[in-house]
C-alpha cells in the first residue's frame, strides 16, 4: 500500500518574521527555510507505519520552485522512498495546490494521504480538507493517533471536548496534529543516501491542473507593537483601572 505525504518549504519556525517594507509579503531572502513542522510529523508517522509493515511505499510530494528540492531531499532522508516535485515558480493559490496534490494522489494510486494539519507560514489549515473534497474521499483532520487495519484506518483526533475516534475506509486523507508523534533526528547516513533516491519533476500542465485565481493578497502588515504595561500597586487600583477601560 502506498502512502503519499505532502511537505511544504516554509520559513523556519525559529526565524523572527519580518514584513517587507512594501507590504507585499514577508522577507524570505537569506532567511533559513525548512520543512513545515506539521509535515515532519506526517512524514514521521508514514515512516512508523512503514516500519510496522502497514504500508509499503512512501512518496513525498511538494509544490514550488527549484529550491523546494531541498525539502524533498529532507523527506527522502526521513525515509520516503521517492519524491515528486510539482515544479512551479511564483505564487500558488490554495485551491491550485490542493488540485495538484489531488492529481498526484490519483496518478500514484495511493491509499493514504498524510498532510500536516496546516503550514506555519499562512496557517490556512485547508489543504487536506480541499483535497478530500476534490477526490470525494473520507477525511480525518488533527490526528493524534493513527492505526491501519486492513482496508480501514482508525484515527483519534483532538477536538474541543476531548478525543474523537473515527474509522474510515481507505483510501483516505489524514492531517496530522502536534501530539501525533515526535519526529526523529535525521541520521547522517540517510542524508547521504537521500541523494540517490529517485526524484521526479512534473508540471501543472502534465497533471492537468489549471491555476485558479480566486485569492488575492492585498497587503501584509506586521502585528501592532504591544504598548508597555502599567504597574499597579493595589488590587483596588487594578479594579479601577480595569473599570476605566470598560473591561469590568
Amino acid at each position: 500500500m502506498k502512502a503519499l505525504v505532502s511537505v511544504k518549504r516554509v520559513v523556519d519556525y525559529n526565524v523572527r518574521i519580518q514584513v517587507k517594507p512594501d507590504g507585499s509579503g514577508v522577507v524570505t531572502d537569506g532567511v533559513k527555510m525548512s520543512m513545515n513542522p506539521f509535515d515532519e510529523i506526517a512524514m514521521e508517522e508514514a515512516v512508523r507505519l512503514k516500519e510496522k509493515g502497514k504500508i509499503t511505499e512512501i512518496i513525498a510530494v511538494t509544490i514550488g520552485g527549484a529550491k523546494c528540492e531541498e525539502t524533498l531531499r529532507t523527506a527522502l532522508a526521513f525515509g520516503a522512498d521517492r519524491a515528486v516535485h510539482v515544479k512551479e515558480e511564483g505564487d500558488i493559490q490554495p485551491l491550485t495546490a490542493a488540485s495538484a496534490l489531488a492529481a498526484v494522489f490519483k496518478k500514484e494510486d495511493a491509499q493514504l494521504f498524510l498532510l500536516g494539519k496546516q503550514a506555519i507560514d499562512d496557517d490556512a489549515n485547508q489543504t487536506g480538507q480541499m483535497v478530500a473534497a476534490l477526490l470525494d474521499l473520507g477525511q480525518a483532520t488533527f490526528a493524534s493517533k493513527v492505526d491501519i487495519d486492513g482496508s480501514k484506518i482508525t484515527v483519534t483526533r483532538e477536538v474541543d471536548a476531548g478525543l474523537e475516534t473515527l474509522e474510515l475506509d481507505l483510501p483516505a486523507i489524514v492531517t496530522t496534529d502536534l501530539r501525533l508523534n515526535e519526529p526523529r533526528y535525521l541520521k547522517l547516513p540517510d542524508i547521504m543516501k537521500a541523494k540517490k533516491k529517485p526524484l521526479e519533476a512534473i508540471s501543472f500542465e502534465a497533471l492537468g491542473v489549471k491555476p485558479a485565481a480566486g485569492l488575492k493578497t492585498l497587503k501584509t502588515t506586521a502585528p501592532a507593537k504591544r504598548s508597555k504595561g502599567v504597574m499597579v500597586k493595589t488590587v483596588d487600583e487594578l479594579v479601577t483601572a480595569l473599570k476605566g477601560k470598560g473591561l469590568l
Binding site: R73, L188, M192
Partner: protein
C-alpha cells in the same frame, strides 16, 4: 616654453646670480635670501607640474571600458555543499536539543550519559566515515564534512562532543590507515548497533609535550610483536573505552600508531579529572610493558601517516573550538541585548558592543582558517601550515572568546547557571591537546 617653464628658469637664474655676489655674505644675508629664492623656485616647480598637464581625449570610446569580473574562484569557495548543509543542520539540531541541556550535569558528573552516547551513535557519525563495503554509509572521504560535523556538535557542548566523536576518530583512523585484516577485525563493531567506546591517544603527561617526540616507547620483539611502555593522558572516556589507538615511538623507526585493546594485560586506567572536557571523562592510560601482536601496528609505522593523523586531529580541535566559540557568541548576543543596567540594555555601552563585534570577527577568522585547512586536506594538498595557523588562532582567540563571554555576562558569567564558565574552561583544551602550542 610655457609660463611655468619661464618662471622656473627665472628663479634658477636669480639663484645663480645671487650666489655669485660676495656682498650678501658680508651682510649676513645669504641664508635668508637663499631660503627666499628656494621657496620661490620650489613653488614655481609645483605650478609647473600642475600647469604642464592638459586633459584631452586621445581616443574615442564607444562605451565605457571596465575590467571583467574575475572568473568564479573555484579554489577559494569554502561554502558547504547542499548535502553538507543538510548534515550540518541535522547534527546542529541534535547538539542544541540533546547535548546542550545535558552538558551541565555531564560536566559535574565527569561522564557523558549512556543514553546520549547511544543516541549520538544512532545519528551515524561513525558509520558515515566507513565505506559501504564494510557496512558503513560513506562514499567519499571529506575532511570538510568532518569539520562541519565537529563544529556543529561543539555548538551543543565541547566536552560531550568529544565524548560522542571519540569513537569516530578511531574508526576514521582504521579506515584511513588500517590494512584489510585490521579493518575486518575492528570496523564491523563500529557499524553495529552497539558502538564501542574508543579513543585516539596521542597526548602524554610531559612538559612541552610534542607529539613528534613521544616518551611512550614500543620495542619490536623477536616474534614480530611489540612491547609498549608509557603513559597517555587526557584520553576521552578512558575508563570505559574498549579500544585505543595509541601513539608510541617505535624504537629505531619513529612515531607510530598501535591498535590496543583495553583488555590487554598490564594496561591500567587512572582517572584524570581536568579543568575542561569533563564530560568526556578524560583519564590516563598506563601501559607497563604491554605485549601487542604484530598486527597491532598501523600502516607499518609510516611517518607521513603519523604526521597526517596529528594534523587531522589538531584540525578536529580547531573545528571544536569554532563550534564552542559560536555557541558563546549565540548566547551572548541576546544576553547583552536583554540585560538591563543603568536603565538600558548593556549592549548600548560601546565597551560591550565592540567586544561582541570583535568576538564575531575573530570567530569568522578562526572558521575561515579551519575551513581552508580542511579544504586543502580534502583536495590532498599539504595542509600542515594551514592547520598550524588555524590552531594558533583557534587557541588564542578561542581562549579570549571564552574569557570575554564570562566577562560580558558579568556576575552571571562566574556562576554555573550559565554555560559561559564551562566554555571558558573547555576552550583552554584546544591549545593543549595534541601538543602544546609552544612546540
Amino acid at each position: 616654453m610655457n609660463t611655468a617653464e619661464v618662471m622656473m628658469s627665472r628663479g634658477l637664474r636669480l639663484l645663480n646670480r645671487f650666489s655669485g655676489l660676495s656682498a650678501i655674505d658680508r651682510l649676513g644675508l645669504r641664508k635668508p635670501l637663499e631660503n627666499l629664492i628656494f621657496q620661490g623656485t620650489r613653488n614655481s616647480f609645483r605650478t609647473a607640474g600642475a600647469v604642464a598637464r592638459t586633459f584631452a581625449a586621445t581616443q574615442k570610446l564607444l562605451q565605457p571600458a571596465r575590467l571583467p569580473k574575475a572568473r568564479g574562484a573555484d579554489l577559494f569557495d569554502l561554502s558547504p555543499t547542499e548535502e553538507q548543509q543538510m548534515l550540518r543542520e541535522a547534527v546542529l539540531g541534535f547538539a542544541l536539543e540533546q547535548l546542550r541541556p545535558a552538558a551541565q550535569a555531564a560536566d559535574a558528573a565527569l561522564a557523558a550519559p549512556d543514553e546520549l552516547l547511544k543516541q549520538s551513535a544512532e545519528l551515524g557519525i561513525a558509520i558515515m566515515g566507513i565505506p559501504e563495503a564494510l557496512g558503513g554509509a560513506g562514499n567519499e572521504r571529506s575532511a570538510m564534512t568532518n569539520v562541519l560535523v565537529a563544529e556543529a556538535m561543539a555548538q551543543g557542548d565541547l566536552g560531550l562532543a568529544v565524548a560522542c566523536l571519540a569513537p569516530a576518530a578511531v574508526s576514521t583512523a582504521l579506515v584511513l590507515w588500517g590494512d584489510e585484516s585490521q579493518q575486518a577485525k575492528y570496523l564491523p563493531a563500529f557499524v553495529g548497533e552497539n558502538l564501542p567506546a574508543a579513543a585516539l591517544a596521542l597526548q602524554e603527561p610531559q612538559p612541552l609535550f610534542d607529539p613528534f617526540a613521544l616518551k611512550t616507547r614500543a620495542r619490536k620483539q623477536a616474534d614480530g610483536g611489540y612491547v609498549i611502555d608509557g603513559i597517555k593522558s587526557l584520553v576521552p572516556h578512558a575508563a570505559t573505552a574498549e579500544l585505543f589507538i595509541i601513539a608510541a615511538e617505535l624504537e629505531g623507526i619513529g612515531p607510530a600508531l598501535f591498535i590496543v585493546e583495553s583488555s590487554s594485560a598490564r594496561l591500567s586506567i587512572e582517572a584524570e579529572p581536568a579543568m575542561g572536557l569533563r564530560a568526556a571523562a578524560t583519564g590516563r592510560v598506563v601501559l607497563e610493558n604491554v605485549v601487542l601482536p604484530a598486527e597491532s601496528l598501523l600502516s607499518s609505522a609510516n611517518a607521513e601517516v603519523y604526521a597526517e593523523c596529528v594534523q587531522l586531529s589538531r584540525l578536529g580541535w580547531c573545528a571544536l573550538a569554532v563550534g564552542t566559540a559560536q555557541a558563546a557568541l549565540d548566547y551572548l548576543i541576546p544576553y547583552v541585548n536583554e540585560r538591563i543596567a543603568f536603565g538600558e540594555p548593556i549592549s548600548h555601552r560601546q565597551s560591550v558592543a565592540f567586544n561582541v563585534a570583535n568576538i564575531a570577527i575573530e570567530l569568522e577568522g578562526m572558521r575561515l582558517l579551519t575551513y581552508r585547512a580542511a579544504s586543502r586536506a580534502e583536495r590532498g594538498s599539504d595542509f600542515a601550515q594551514d592547520t598550524a595557523l588555524a590552531r594558533k588562532l583557534c587557541t588564542d582567540k578561542g581562549m579570549s572568546i571564552g574569557s570575554d563571554a564570562v566577562q560580558l555576562l558579568g556576575g552571571h558569567g562566574f556562576i554555573k547557571e550559565h554555560p559561559a564558565e564551562r566554555w571558558y574552561r573547555d576552550l583552554r583544551a584546544v591549545g593543549l591537546m595534541e601538543g602544546v602550542l609552544l612546540v
